[in-house]
Structure formats: structure tokens, C-alpha cells
């Protein structure tokens, strides 16, 4: 019996899936570099991430500066929605994959939202490192200014030039500026690095919660007030 045909059968399609970054198989290469034979010796996860996302091995200064910036980014607390959501996932008995997925989705949304708030500025930095930051990129208070001062001090030690760190920007904009200076220049790449750096803390916080221990969770925080409206 002949299977019925439809529009999918009537078209010509490639038979193979294209791999652009990693060679499939037992001895993977990333953008042409042998992972197990060469990269892993003396490399780091940050180096691998930058290679994957930019297509090239980072210069030492860029690698060290990104390591610093991602450590500044990594410390997300349970006060922040992605971690809070992961905690609720764990509390509600979600399986391991789901807890991590919940955290990852929340972190990706958090990073995307923060990046969108900066408008075109991060991408303007790629060609004009002195591009004027928008108001949304500026530090909101002295604590944030102090954090960016600490970041600038550490990044200066690496030798990577990031003029934007002296423009009064806030923490999120400063971290983004360092990543852009290290040639991370697409929204997906920026968000991926931020998620990568923050995911461990978010999952670790969720792992501290006992599944089913609903009484320990502040259910009425914050307060919701229902108003019937038809």
C-alpha cells in the first residue's frame, strides 16, 4: 500500500542537517579546534563559551575580563524572579530537568529584558566604544556605582579596554559592555553567557528547598489583591 502523499512529500528537502559549530561524533571539534586533544589542556569553560559564541579563541585579556564580568553577573539571589521561580518548582516537586529548565527560562527572560532596556547601545559599542549610554544604562544609586567601580578596577588589570565603564553606567550595562568589548556581539550570545553564569546559583538555591515543604514558603508574599471585574 502506498502511503498518502502531502505537501511535505512533494517538496525537495536537504537530507542532512547542517552542523556549523561542533563536529558530531566521538572526537568533537569546536569551530575547527580539537576539544579533547588540545582545547581542554589549559582551557576553561569561559574560553570554550567564547569560542563557541564568537567563532574564535579569545585573547587572554578578553578571556580574563569576561571571567570577571561573568562572576559579577553570576550571583543571582532568591529575591530575583528566576531563582524564586526555580525554588517554587523544587517546592512543588518538579523533576530535576524541570527545575533547571524553569531557572534557565527565567534567567533568559531576565537577561533578554535587561538587554532590550539598553536599546542599540551595546551594539553601537562594537563600532564606537565611547557611544553615549542611554538613561536606562546609567547607575541608579551609589551601590551600583560602587559595584561598577569594583568591576572597572578588576577589568583594568586584565588589560581589556572598556571605556564604557567610565561613563556612569549601571551594573547590567557594565557587564554587557565588557562582553561586547570581548567581541560577544549578538543578543543570543550575550543572553547565553549571562544564563550560563547565573544558572548554577539559581539551581543551587532551589536545591536547598525540600519538595513538598509548602508550609515553609511565604505564600502571601508579595500580596495579591483580587478585584472582580467582568
Amino acid at each position: 500500500m502506498t502511503a498518502p502523499r502531502g505537501p511535505i512529500e512533494e517538496q525537495e528537502w536537504p537530507a542532512e542537517l547542517a552542523a556549523h559549530v561542533v563536529t558530531p561524533g566521538a572526537r568533537p571539534r569546536v569551530h575547527g579546534y580539537d576539544v579533547e586533544g588540545e582545547l581542554a589542556a589549559g582551557g576553561s569553560v569561559t574560553e570554550m563559551a567564547l569560542l563557541a559564541l564568537t567563532g574564535e579563541l579569545p585573547a587572554r585579556a578578553a578571556l580574563e575580563a569576561v571571567d570577571v564580568a561573568l562572576q559579577f553577573a553570576a550571583a543571582v539571589s532568591v529575591a530575583e524572579a528566576p531563582v524564586h521561580a526555580a525554588v517554587l518548582g523544587r517546592l512543588s516537586g518538579a523533576n530535576t530537568g524541570s527545575v533547571v529548565s524553569i531557572a534557565a527560562i527565567g534567567l533568559a527572560e531576565q537577561a533578554r529584558d535587561a538587554l532590550e532596556a539598553l536599546g542599540d547601545w551595546p551594539f553601537a559599542l562594537a563600532t564606537h566604544s565611547n557611544a553615549t549610554p542611554p538613561d536606562a544604562a546609567l547607575a541608579r544609586d551609589d551601590d551600583e556605582r560602587a559595584a561598577v567601580d569594583r568591576l572597572r578596577t578588576l577589568v583594568e588589570v586584565t588589560g581589556l579596554s572598556v571605556p564604557a565603564l567610565s561613563r556612569g553606567v549601571g551594573r547590567s550595562a557594565a557587564i554587557t559592555a565588557v562582553l561586547v568589548a570581548a567581541r560577544v556581539r549578538t543578543p543570543e550570545a550575550l543572553v547565553a553567557l549571562l544564563v550560563m553564569s547565573r544558572l548554577p546559583a539559581a539551581v543551587a538555591e532551589a536545591s536547598c528547598v525540600k519538595a513538598g515543604d509548602f508550609r515553609s514558603y511565604p505564600m502571601n508574599t508579595p500580596v495579591f489583591e483580587y478585584e472582580a471585574r467582568r
Binding site: I8, Y33, L57, G97, F224, Y226, R229
Partner: protein, 268 residues
């Protein structure tokens, strides 16, 4: 609780849980909705706060059925299968939800189409029965819109779902509804001026607007009535746990990236 937290109250119009009764979008769940509202009707309450008539609910059912193309090779559904191949139905379903959160594929295309229909409705004003005027307004909208979302049918001459939906609408005596009429005019103009056929995204938008949903509510409604497409694939995919989906054999993957090169770490 701090004063700051105590003073911050989030207003919600969605729901409140009580002891013997619950409220949902302004309705008593047991007292008003139970026994009187279908699943489609409940979705309308959930998203738009709309209480549909039984005939409106059946129209929504017709739309859901006409959109039911669950072919697992279609991109969002294949994605669902890929993630579900590790055995997690809801993981596959959740991943599938992610792919439709854009303006190229999925429910959000209907929002843009709904906005276009609303704009056309504004242009037409109270002259909906003036066919020449409606055609002229539709042609003007098609001409000034660079990318007409909800139009264009890949890989086949026309969208069979629109035709099936049209038959349902005819059978229910709803072909005279304002937005469906406007869609017909817009479809004719798009075919004439840009050789574009209307797809089910725009058709769904027209039906939703005629049911009383706002353009913003169209996307979640379309997603909800299409959720069965993802769940059917997630359920079967999780049960099958297909090894070939978890990892394609080497013969089906072609590396097109950089050639092998030695590691030479930049010094500065």
C-alpha cells in the same frame, strides 16, 4: 513583612481561592461556570474575561478543529518531539511553547493580523456594506504594509485550513460577521496586489475579533486552542523515546563549519 512589602499590593482580576467557592475573572466558578461553560468557553473566560454564548463556543471549537494539523515534521512540533525524546511529556510541551513566541511562526502572527484587521475596520468605518469602499480600503492597507503578516502559504497553493474554516463559518451563518468580511476583502487585495494567499493565522484573528477578543488576546487564545497539537506530539514522543531523535546518525549530519586547525591561544 517590611513596611515596603506590606505597602506593595498586586492587583489581580484573574482569580481568588475561597473556602467553598472560587472566583475566576469575575465569575463564581461553581455557581456560574460549572455545568454552564464548555472548555472553549472557559478558555475565553481565562484569556479575555469573555463569557461566550454556546454558539460562540462552538465557533471557537470549529476554529480549533480546523487548525489541527499535528504533523510531527512541522517545525514547532518536531522541536517538541526532540525534547520529549528523553521521556518528559511536559518538557517537550514546554519547549514547543517557546518556538511560537515569535512573529514568524505561531500564535503571535495572529496578533499582527488582528491589528491589521482592526486598522482596516477603522478605515472602513460604517461603510462595511459598500463593497467598493471596502475593497479600496483593503487595497490601500495591502499597499502600505511592507510585510503582511497572516498572509503567505508555504509549500502549497492555498491554506486548506482557511477553506475548511470558511465552510464552518458558512454553516454557522457567520459569513456576514464584520471581521470575516474584512478578511475576505483583504485576502482578495493581497492575492491581487502581492500574489499572497491568506493563511489560517489571519483567519483565526478574524474569527477571534468577531467573537469579541481584543487583538492582544488573540495570541494566547490561538495558542490555547492549538495546545493539543503540541501535547499529542509530546505525549507520543515521550513514550517512544526515539534514539534517532536524541542523536541523529552521522550520515544525516553534514559539518559545514571551520576546517580543523591547531590551537594557538592569543597572548594578549
Amino acid at each position: 513583612m517590611t513596611d515596603e512589602a506590606r505597602g506593595h499590593v498586586i492587583k489581580t482580576h484573574v482569580a481568588r481561592a475561597g473556602w467553598d467557592e472560587h472566583e475566576y475573572r469575575g465569575y463564581r466558578v461553581f455557581g456560574e461556570l460549572a455545568g454552564a461553560t464548555s472548555m472553549s468557553g472557559l478558555l475565553a473566560v481565562a484569556v479575555g474575561g469573555l463569557r461566550l454564548s454556546p454558539d460562540d463556543e462552538r465557533m471557537l471549537d470549529d476554529l480549533a478543529v480546523c487548525m489541527a494539523v499535528a504533523e510531527p515534521r512541522i517545525w514547532p512540533l518536531k522541536l517538541t518531539r526532540l525534547v520529549a525524546s528523553y521521556g518528559g511529556t511536559m518538557a517537550g510541551f514546554s519547549a514547543g511553547c517557546g518556538i511560537v513566541d515569535g512573529t514568524l511562526v505561531g500564535a503571535w502572527t495572529s496578533v499582527a493580523a488582528a491589528q491589521a484587521l482592526r486598522a482596516l475596520s477603522d478605515d472602513v468605518g460604517d461603510r462595511i456594506d459598500d463593497d467598493d469602499h471596502v475593497s479600496a480600503c483593503a487595497a490601500a492597507l495591502v499597499t502600505r504594509t511592507r510585510r503582511l503578516i497572516g498572509f503567505g502559504v508555504p509549500f502549497r497553493p492555498r491554506d486548506e485550513r482557511v477553506a475548511a474554516l470558511g465552510r464552518c463559518i458558512e454553516a454557522r451563518g457567520r459569513s456576514g460577521c464584520r471581521h470575516w468580511r474584512l478578511l475576505s476583502a483583504l485576502a482578495a487585495a493581497a492575492t491581487r496586489l502581492k500574489a499572497l494567499e491568506v493563511n489560517v493565522g489571519a483567519a483565526a484573528a478574524a474569527v477571534m475579533l468577531d467573537l469579541g477578543f481584543s487583538p492582544h488576546d488573540v495570541a494566547p487564545m490561538v495558542f490555547l486552542i492549538n495546545a493539543n497539537l503540541f501535547l499529542s506530539n509530546a505525549t507520543e514522543g515521550a513514550a517512544q523515546r526515539e534514539p534517532i531523535l536524541r542523536e541523529l546518525p552521522a550520515s544525516l549530519v553534514r559539518y559545514v563549519g571551520r576546517p580543523p586547525r591547531p590551537v594557538c591561544r592569543p597572548a594578549t
